[in-house]
Assembly symmetry: C2
Homo-oligomer: 262 residues x 2
C-alpha cells in the first residue's frame, strides 16, 4: 500500500492575505458583483442578504500550496471558494494521505461540529475565497432561513458525493478510477468556466500526479501509466494550461462504470 509523504509545506501564510486593501466603499458590494455567486450557497440570498454576507466575510487571495485549514486546529472559520481549486485531505500519522475532495469555485469548505477541524485544506493553484468566522456564519444561518436550508442541501450533496467516492475507492479498478476522475474534472470545468467553452470536452486538471494518486487511492506511477494508456488509445489528449481534452466521453463513461468495453 502507498505511503505518499506530505508535500513540502510551503510557507504557511497565516491567512493574512486579504485582497487589495479592502477599501470599505469597494468591499461593501463585493457579494453583489461576485461572478460565481449564482453557482454557490450565496444564490439563496436577496439583496439585503448579500450585504450581510459581504459584511460577515473577508476575501482572501492565496498562492498555490498555501495551507487554509490544518488538521486538528480549532475550527474557527468557514470558507467559500470563488476562484481556483482547493484540496481537502486527511492523513495518517506515518504520512499516508487521502485527498477526500477538491473544492472548485462555488464550493464551500470548513464546516465542523467539533471544536477542531478533522481534515486539512490547501490551495492547488491561485485561489480566491471568502472567509466567514464561525459566529458570523451562525448569525447568518439564524437570520436567513433560506441560506441555512441551502447549506443543508449543499452538505447533503457533499455527502452523496462522498458515498460515490467510497464506491470508487473500495470497489473500482485503477482504470475505472482514472476514467471517473477525468469525467468528474470535465464536469467541474463545465460548471466553473464562465464563457461557454470554446471547445467543450475539456477537463481542468490543475493538481499534480501526487494529488491525483492520493485522491484515487493509487500511486503516481499507476496514475501516470493509466493516463498514458488512455492517451495511446486516443480516449484523451493533452491540452495547454493543465487541461486534458476528452476525445471519447462515452467510452470513458463505460470504463468508469465498470463495463469492460473500450
Amino acid at each position: 500500500m502507498t505511503s505518499s509523504s506530505h508535500p513540502p509545506a510551503p510557507a504557511l501564510a497565516p491567512l493574512g492575505g486579504v485582497l487589495h486593501a479592502p477599501k470599505a466603499d469597494v468591499d461593501i458590494i463585493r457579494c453583489m458583483v461576485c461572478d460565481i455567486r449564482h453557482k454557490s450557497l450565496c444564490n439563496s440570498m436577496d439583496e439585503e442578504g448579500l450585504a450581510a454576507l459581504t459584511h460577515s466575510s473577508r476575501q482572501l487571495q492565496l498562492p498555490p500550496g498555501t495551507t487554509i485549514v490544518e488538521e486538528g486546529e480549532p475550527a474557527l472559520a468557514f470558507f467559500n471558494v470563488t476562484r481556483g481549486t482547493v484540496k481537502l485531505f486527511k492523513s495518517l500519522p506515518d504520512g499516508r494521505r487521502q485527498i477526500t475532495g477538491f473544492a472548485d469555485a462555488g464550493q464551500f469548505l470548513g464546516l465542523s461540529t467539533a471544536q477542531t477541524y478533522s481534515f486539512g485544506a490547501e490551495t492547488v493553484d491561485n485561489v480566491r475565497l471568502c472567509r466567514f468566522m464561525r459566529p458570523q456564519l451562525e448569525a447568518l444561518l439564524s437570520d436567513y432561513p433560506k441560506f441555512e436550508r441551502r447549506l443543508l442541501a449543499a452538505v447533503t450533496d457533499k455527502l452523496a458525493e462522498a458515498q460515490e467516492q467510497m464506491l470508487l475507492l473500495g470497489r473500482k479498478t485503477a482504470r475505472e478510477k482514472v476514467a471517473t476522475f477525468l469525467l468528474d474534472r470535465m464536469k467541474a470545468f463545465h460548471l466553473t468556466a464562465n464563457r461557454r467553452q470554446e471547445a467543450e470536452n475539456l477537463a481542468s486538471v490543475p493538481m499534480t500526479r501526487v494529488d491525483i494518486a492520493d485522491y484515487l487511492g493509487l500511486t503516481i506511477e499507476t496514475v501516470s501509466r493509466t493516463i498514458s494508456a488512455f492517451r495511446r488509445s486516443l480516449l484523451i489528449a493533452s491540452a495547454e494550461n493543465h487541461r486534458i481534452r476528452i476525445l471519447s466521453a462515452t467510452t470513458l463513461l463505460n470504463i468508469a462504470s465498470g463495463q469492460k468495453a473500450d
Copy 2:
C-alpha cells in the same frame, strides 16, 4: 478486485410493516416515550415538537434483509432508526457493491436533494424505524429551527465520518481496516446499549462477512483471515450474540492508526 454479488434480496416488503396497528391513543405519545430519543435528531425537540414528530411519522418494524430504500427510486421518505442496524450501499452495474455506512439506533438515513435516492438501504437485523414522508419532514424543518440546525449538524458529522472512511478505503491496509472496524463497532455498541454494559469492551457485529468485506473494500476471505489472526494474537475473542470481545483496545487502536506495533 472484488465482485461481491448482491445478497439474495429476500421478499422486498413494500414497507407496509407498520408496528402493531397504530392505535391513535398509543401512537400519540410515541416520540415522548421513545427510549433512544436523546441519542437522535429528536433530542432537539420540546414537548410540542415531539407531538409534531409523532404526527409526522409512522413507526415500522422490519425483519433482517428487508429493502428500505432502493437505489434510483424516488426519494419519498426520510428515516430515523430506533432499533437494530441498517446498511447503506452503492452498487456498480456488474454487482460490485460498496457499503458506505451502517446506521445503528439513533442514526438517520434517506436524505437527498435529488429526485431519486443515490443509494440503497437494507436492514441487517430486526430493525425498528420512524418514517417521515418528505413534505412532512420539510414542514418540520421550517416549523422547528432547532430541529433543522440539529439535522445540519448531523449531516455535517456524517460527512466527517465519510471522509474518515475514505482515508480507510484509500490508504489503509487490510489489517488496519479490520482493526478500525472493530473499534468503530465497539463505539457504536457503547452509544447504542441502554444498560451500562455488564462488560464494557464488547463490539456488536450483526452483519455478515460479506457486508464487512463490502464495507472495508476487501474480500470475505481477507476479512476472515484477519479476524482469525487477531483472535490468535489474543487481541479479540468471540462472544455470544454476534458480539466480539475486545481484549486489547489500545493495540487495536495502534494498528488502526497505522503504527505497525502489535
